[in-house]
């Protein structure tokens, strides 16, 4: 059977080109890989290689022809045993054009159809359970956030042999911030792995181990250093499930302190919640108190997806009551109302929750009853809890330690505006770090970072008190 040789597309965007030169003539024998012609686009001159073998029976488009459409038949090849004189093109250049035209307009139509559908369709929301109720009579023990995180890892490592922790100084040094204290003693060096200072490398290695079915906990000494590894976190861990059509999976936790520490300067003080919160395929958790830190880290380790778990150095030493339960696991994706109120909603995550609670106390003295929501999870974001709260209070202040631009507060403000527009009595307000790299000098650092006073001021403003 004869084979049509078509004008090839040489790039994703090429629609037509000039057939500048034939390097074979009618009657020539052609092997696959032979250069048969040269074509020119606005970008480059390219050689056309034969794919099939045979005899070049007919040349249908003369050299020098401009504007030859992609997929037009430019020549016909007679295959072995065929009479080169008697072969016919299955389509001529013109009809190939016409065919291409219809198919491309069909395609456009189909594309715009499905684009409409995609616009209409919301990403389906995963069902998230409420916090399990804590049985009556359960005792609580005051525990530091540091120890709660440690206990979560230890409990999960006892439960599942596939869980291991790796990172810089996690084993013999007992953790740069002592979060992995005594894990080496209990689990040994096979499961508590000191790495070289090589974030990109060990993040990628962790992803590979997770692809192979292990459940790595990768500790970054701080999330500032994880920027070295962000390609592996986003491109490899976050996207592979989708790119594999659901075949793969990456059960991995990336954890470590995030946000501003104290007087460590701009490179060591950054809130990455918005960065990772931007990426579909990741879960992002940023707890405030010890009970949530424990319950959510246990959930993160069990989660079949990659979880970015953002801790806060300045909270590690703070103590909170943690329920004395054998298995305290909390749902990822559920915000918690830390204080009920009726006048204004304060939304925060991580360390800012403490400032929001402090602000609520100050506001209470001033006659303003604030509701404080701890997001706990950044992605998936529990917008239902926030929107419901705003429907009650009609005012919202979004608080975060990070920068304002494209931040967590921006996303919440947009969501509330879209979903509770008629309920709002004031535009959503935002409290955030000043739009500068974090300064070192004590006074400038304090000016740069948001605190309870900033939240009080913003709350009073949306309540039109000031």
């Amino acid at each position: 059977m004869s084979v049509d040789i078509l004008m090839p597309a040489l790039s994703p965007t090429m629609e037509e080109g000039t057939l500048s030169k034939w390097l074979k003539k009618e009657g020539d024998t052609i092997s696959s890989g032979d250069v048969i012609a040269e074509i020119e686009t606005d970008k480059a001159t390219m050689e056309v290689e034969a794919v099939d073998e045979g005899t070049l029976a007919k040349i249908l488009v003369a050299e020098g022809t401009e504007g030859v459409k992609v997929n037009a038949v430019i020549a016909v090849l007679a295959e072995e045993g065929e009479d080169a004189d008697s072969v016919e093109a299955k389509g001529d250049a013109a009809s190939a054009d016409a065919k291409e035209d219809t198919s491309s307009s069909d395609k456009e139509e189909a594309a715009s159809d499905s684009a409409d559908k995609a616009d209409e369709a919301e990403a389906p929301k995963a069902k998230v359970l409420n916090d399990p109720s804590i049985p009556e009579g359960t005792s609580f023990t005051d525990t530091t956030v540091r120890d709660a995180l440690r206990d979560a890892m230890a409990e999960e490592m006892r439960r599942d042999e596939a869980v291991f922790v790796m990172g810089e100084e996690v084993a013999e040094y007992q953790g740069a911030y002592k979060v992995t204290r005594e894990l080496l003693q209990e689990f040994g060096s096979k499961r508590v792995v000191d790495t070289p200072i090589t974030e990109h490398g060990f993040a990628g290695l962790g992803v590979g181990a997770a692809f192979a079915g292990l459940k790595p906990i990768v500790e970054f000494m701080t999330f500032n250093f994880a920027m070295q590894a962000i390609d592996q976190i986003i491109n490899s861990a976050g996207k592979t499930l989708y790119m594999s059509g659901g075949q793969m999976g990456c059960p991995i936790v990336f954890r470590g302190p995030n946000g501003a520490a104290s007087r460590v300067g701009a490179q060591h003080s950054q809130d990455y919640a918005a960065w990772y919160g931007h990426v579909p395929g990741l879960k992002v958790v940023a707890p405030y108190d010890a009970a949530d830190a424990k319950g959510l880290l246990k959930a993160a380790i069990r989660d079949p997806n990659p979880v970015v778990f953002l801790e806060h150095e300045l909270l590690y030493g703070n103590s909170f009551p943690v329920p004395d339960l054998d298995d305290h696991v909390l749902p990822i994706g559920k915000a918690a109302i830390k204080r009920e109120g009726t006048d204004v909603t304060l939304v925060a995550h991580s360390r800012m929750v403490g400032f929001a609670l402090e602000a609520a106390n100050i506001l209470a003295e001033q006659g303003i009853d604030a509701e404080v929501i701890d997001l706990r999870t950044i992605r998936p974001l529990d917008t239902d809890t926030v929107v419901e709260s705003v429907k009650k209070t009609n005012r919202i202040v979004c608080c975060e330690e990070g920068w304002r631009f494209f931040g967590v507060g921006a996303e919440i403000a947009a969501t509330v505006t879209a979903e509770a527009f008629d309920y709002l009595d004031a535009p959503p307000a935002r409290v955030h770090q000043k739009d500068v790299p974090l300064p070192y000098a004590a006074n400038l650092e304090a000016m740069s970072l948001p605190d309870a006073d900033d939240i009080v001021a913003a709350a009073r403003k949306v309540c039109y008190v000031d």
Binding site: L6, M7, P8, A9, L10, P12, S32, G33, V35, A44, T45, E47, E49, V51, V70, N71, A118, A121, A123, A126, K190, T195, P196, T198, H200, G201, F202, A203, G204, L205, G206, V207, G208, A209, F211, A212, G213, L214, D231, Q232, N235, S236, T240, L241, Y242, M243, S244, G245, G246, Q247, M248, G249, P280, G281, A299, R302, D303, P304, N305, I332
Partner: protein, 337 residues
């Protein structure tokens, strides 16, 4: 420990008739498949990036012959050949290239992003060099579990300049991980020749400061690849740690479909094709040993052409993914106890 160079002279043929015919068939399948992919690209049926493996077939074919059940493979974006060598279905691979629901990733991955857990093929990675630490992690998992499986991480001469490759080398050697690193040196990192991108052009030496042994191999000779591969895989499997093989190979086509490859002379390509082609080379040996006649090899060719035609037909008949697939596979559901 010292790294050493092996000469690239032809390895003595120790392969059996059945083995040689299998390698011939496997390499030919890759060649014909890739030619068809190029053709479908030209017809606008395959879009985006498409990096063909034509010319490099001996590398993956020879290496694959050294592996056993449970060994893992990972590579970069020039990955179609690796998938076929792992015994993945040509239909599923081609349908992924055309972006159809019958593809290995249901059309959601494309040329550079395909996987098969069943066949231990871990991708298919589009970021140059990213597969090297991930592959090292596969080796880490083997050691953690106490299996004797080996992970083979392929990357190109271009990726050999990425920092994360050396981060991975360091950990693999430090922890004696069972990983064989296969550098497919096809002489060009996109358009930049090795001499222009590498201060040390003998890439098998790149493991020296990590105490990883390395060898240079004639990557155009499937039997030479096999011989070197067997040694490297045995080394890694025995618990001694990683091993580097630098395969000197060549890609006949441009870096991707839109690369006119003006950075090299046509004569250079023609010379390699005429004198070093891996398939023609093996064909010559098969005929010389009387393992098959020209006609028998032609029959194999016909058989392969039919497989590739079926794959192409399937890839064009398979429907586009259902619009509902837009939202699936972003996250796995959490099992609630």
């Amino acid at each position: 420990m010292a790294t050493k160079s092996k000469s690239t002279k032809k390895a003595p043929s120790k392969a059996s008739k059945a083995e040689m015919l299998k390698y011939y068939r496997d390499m030919l399948l890759i060649r014909r498949f890739e030619e068809k992919a190029g053709q479908l690209y030209g017809m606008g049926k395959i879009a985006g990036f498409c990096h063909l493996y034509i010319g490099q077939e001996a590398v993956v074919t020879g290496m694959q012959s050294c592996l056993k059940e449970g060994d893992q493979i990972i590579t970069g974006y020039r990955d179609h050949g690796h998938m076929l060598a792992c015994d993945m279905e040509p239909k599923g691979v081609m349908a992924e290239l055309t972006g159809r629901s019958g593809g290995y990733s249901k059309g959601k991955g494309g040329s550079m992003h395909m996987f098969s857990k069943e066949k231990n093929f871990y991708g298919g990675h589009g970021i140059v060099g990213a597969q090297v630490p991930i592959g090292t992690g596969l080796g880490f998992a083997n050691k953690y579990r106490g299996t004797d499986n080996v992970a083979v991480a392929y990357f190109g001469d271009g990726a050999a300049n990425q920092g994360q490759v050396y981060e991975a080398f360091n950990m693999a050697s430090l922890w004696d991980l069972p990983v064989v690193y296969v550098i497919e040196n096809n002489m060009y990192a996109m358009g930049t020749s090795v001499a222009r991108h590498a201060s040390e052009t003998e890439l098998f030496k790149r493991g020296i400061s990590f105490e990883i042994e390395g060898e240079e191999v004639d990557g155009m000779d499937v039997l030479a690849v096999r011989e070197a591969g067997e040694k490297a895989v045995k080394y890694a499997r025995s618990g001694k740690g990683p091993y580097i093989l630098e395969m000197k190979t060549y890609r006949y086509r441009g870096h991707s479909m839109s690369d006119p490859a003006k950075y090299r002379k046509r004569e250079e390509v023609d010379d390699i094709r005429s004198h070093h082609d891996p398939i023609e080379g093996l064909k010559g040996q098969i005929l010389e040993h009387g393992h098959a006649t020209e006609d028998e090899l032609k029959d194999i060719d016909k058989e392969i052409k039919a497989i590739v035609k079926d794959a192409a037909d399937f890839s064009l008949e398979s429907p586009e993914p259902d619009p509902s697939e837009l939202w699936t596979d972003v996250l796995k559901d959490v099992e609630v106890a």
